[in-house]
């Protein structure tokens, strides 16, 4: 404990807008671990099928989409079976939607902690985005099973999948940082999340392929980072001939700006969290 006892903490009103104190998060990594662990423990306590919910939800959505958009409306699916086509997008999407909802609600949900204990507040939205990864992995295994059922081989490009998972995580965190901080002050934000998520889903290539979006709208369309994430996912899984790297890069740039701004915004809002929450 000797190294700790020599530490000196200086407490004063923060002057700079850009003190992010990211090493503080590293210092509190065990708390981050315990918060994620708590979230996982609690989510499926007193449920009958427990972790089965992680599979049930995307599967049911996939079945509905396949019936309505695949069979009835006959939306093109880039030559894939529609079920696989939809499920491969629902994977990152469901992860993103869950992570976003949890991180937006995180600070307000742990108001008791925020007003009584010190820790880097950034840990809360981060924990909110991390705890969805377990569900993601479980539903991913189902995808692998479904692909072998349809006789689709995993492409070598799937080695890049972790990259796109991080991409999805960063997208959720970027938006989560902005909205969770706003939610502390304006609870309206919490109410708009369900609408936001729903609208956002249709603005992403989940039930339809990117290829049906007219070329002249592509740029604006790919300002939605989830377009890049989902395109990346499908490319990584199925190794499509011509991945749309332009779309992915635009999305990545948007996320980098969102997350940078989100960090600064969150850090500056968090000063009053304890007084306002």
């Amino acid at each position: 404990m000797n190294n700790v006892s020599e530490s000196t903490i200086i407490i004063e009103a923060k002057k700079s807008w850009f003190q992010l104190d990211l090493e503080g998060i590293w210092h509190y990594r065990e708390l981050l671990y315990f918060l994620v662990w708590r979230d996982l423990k609690i989510r499926y306590k007193q449920t009958v099928i427990g972790i089965g919910w992680a599979i049930l939800q995307p599967v049911v959505t996939m079945l509905i989409f396949t019936f309505i958009f695949g069979d009835l409306v006959k939306v093109p699916s880039d030559g894939l079976p529609y079920a696989i086509f939809a499920y491969s997008a629902l994977l990152p999407w469901n992860y993103f939607a869950g992570a976003l909802q949890r991180s937006v609600a995180s600070v307000v949900g742990d108001a008791a902690l925020v007003s009584k204990v010190y820790f880097p507040r950034l840990i809360l939205p981060i924990a909110g985005t991390l705890s969805g990864l377990v569900d993601f992995l479980i539903s991913f295994m189902l995808l692998v099973a479904m692909m072998s059922w349809y006789g689709i081989r995993l492409s070598w490009t799937s080695l890049t999948l972790p990259l796109f998972i991080v991409f999805a995580l960063c997208t959720a965190l970027a938006v989560g940082l902005w909205l969770s901080a706003l939610n502390v002050r304006y609870r309206d934000v919490g109410h708009t999340i369900p609408f936001l998520v729903q609208a956002w889903m249709y603005a992403s290539p989940i039930v339809y392929p990117l290829s049906i979006v007219p070329e002249r709208y592509r740029f604006f369309y790919s300002l939605n980072p989830m377009v890049g994430v989902i395109e990346g996912f499908r490319w990584a899984l199925f190794g499509k001939q011509s991945p749309d790297f332009a779309v992915m890069s635009i999305s990545a740039v948007v996320v980098i700006f969102l997350i940078g701004g989100g960090l600064v915004f969150f850090r500056n809002m968090e000063r009053t969290f304890a007084d306002v929450v």
Binding site: S7, I9, E30, A112, V117, Y118, A274, V277
Partner: protein, 435 residues
């Protein structure tokens, strides 16, 4: 390396009044205000805005909308010192501890903390009812800033202190409230930090556990830890600390030896009164009670105002006015010690009919008062009933008529009453030699 544990320089914090009520303020309103403010600022000077636009005024509150919860607080703490903080509600004690715990930021000024700091502003922060005792120990420990290895090492000690071994794998939602508090305090008590900040956490649990907590605090203190301690329990402050800071309206009134500070503080909070409470001279806050029957005047009916001797009677005259007619009234009387701990109560029926718009005077007499020497005050309520119905409460006065019990020099066998002997001086006790 400094030979200080904490150095606080000109620490200040202000709050916007009304933040609490407006905390759910609408995003829409804020947007409208912001846009207006930007728009108006472009057109005119800053000063003109305040004069011209009411909307902008409310967006940019004037000086009076702020309150300094702390103003220019400076003090130093040496390693191993135990400091008590006294002061009334809203004096800034909790705000100060929150700033030192880094929960909220100061508006101005600076504090330096040398060493690892652990704060205990609440027992059981972050406990989750669905998790087991074991799981909550780890979660709560991590929240308080303990490392996992540290919790592993002290786990048995914690369980032992909480006396909860049998239920360690039961969800805490099935715990009794006593068990819950015990386990929560046990985690906190095993924090390994050099500086410990404690706020009112001893006000929980049953008496036996409270004693144990105080004992643990003493032990922690003897280990050479620096402790900052806030409590309304003056007794605990006196027992634990040698030095105290007295805060009043966000400023330090006094800083010094606990025994002296506490004496002065109590004198300040409860000045010797004339022994009379008068409605005319008191601004009363609104309350949920109807006050269809209300107190007009209360007064001690003895020669010496608010001074009595152990064993004497306490005569109290009460004037009430009633807007309604009642078949009977009664008074509820509670005697409290200076630190707010109730000593005892009495319900005194006055079987007398009261007509509407009557003003009535009653004389109450508490006979053979066995209170020990010290300072006390009263809470008093008036309740009335129609024939056949239950009593309803109409008016209540809290913390009124401070009075002092003086030692009865002639009859007592003990010269100076000590606070550790309690607040009641029994005298109906005899000792006869039987063998």
């Amino acid at each position: 390396m400094s030979n200080l544990a904490i150095k606080v320089e000109n620490l200040s914090k202000f709050y916007k009044i009304g933040t609490r009520q407006n905390r759910h303020d609408m995003l829409r309103d804020q947007l409208v205000h912001t846009i207006k403010a930007i728009f108006l600022r472009n057109g005119k000077g800053k000063q003109a805005i305040n004069v011209d636009s009411g909307a902008v005024d409310s967006f940019r509150p004037s000086q009076t909308d702020y309150i300094w919860a702390l103003k220019d607080i400076s003090f130093e703490v040496k390693p191993g010192e135990i400091i008590g903080f006294v002061g009334r509600n809203g004096a800034g004690k909790s705000t100060l501890l929150k700033i030192l715990s880094r929960i909220t930021e100061p508006t101005d000024g600076k504090a330096k903390v040398y060493g690892r700091i652990g704060s205990l502003l609440e027992v059981g922060t972050g406990f989750h009812p669905e998790l087991t005792g074991r799981e909550n120990i780890y979660l709560n420990g991590a929240i308080l800033g303990m490392r996992k290895a540290e919790i592993d090492r002290r786990f048995d000690e914690i369980v032992d202190f909480a006396d909860i071994e049998k239920f360690i794998d039961t969800p805490v939602k099935r715990y009794s409230s006593g068990m819950y508090v015990r386990i929560a305090f046990a985690v906190a008590a095993h924090l390994e930090s050099e500086i410990l900040i404690v706020d009112e956490v001893l006000a929980v649990g049953d008496a036996a556990f409270q004693r144990r907590c105080l004992g643990k605090m003493n032990a922690v203190a003897n280990e050479g830890k620096t402790i900052l301690f806030v409590s309304h329990n003056i007794d605990a402050i006196q027992r634990l600390t040698q030095r105290s800071l007295w805060l009043e309206r966000g400023r330090i009134m006094r800083d010094g030896v606990t025994a002296e500070i506490v004496q002065e503080y109590l004198k300040y909070v409860l000045p010797t009164s004339s022994g009379v409470w008068d409605r005319e001279n008191t601004s009363r806050q609104s309350s949920a009670l109807t006050r269809d029957v209300e107190f007009i005047r209360l007064g001690f009916e003895n020669r010496d105002g608010g001074r009595f001797v152990t064993g004497s009677d306490l005569p109290l005259s009460i004037t009430i006015r009633s807007k309604i007619s009642l078949d009977r009234v009664r008074f509820g009387l509670t005697i409290l010690r200076v630190d707010g701990i109730p000593v005892g109560s009495s319900f005194v029926p006055a079987r007398s009919r009261i007509e509407a718009n009557d003003t009535v005077v009653f004389q109450l007499r508490l006979e053979d008062l066995r209170l020990a020497p010290g300072r006390f005050y009263l809470n008093i309520a008036i309740e009335g009933a129609q024939c056949g119905s239950d009593y309803a409460r109409f008016d209540m006065l809290t913390e009124v008529l401070p009075f002092e019990i003086l030692p009865c020099l002639a009859a007592e066998k003990v010269p100076v009453w000590q606070s550790s002997w309690g607040s009641i001086c029994f005298n109906q006790c005899t000792a006869e030699r039987i063998g």
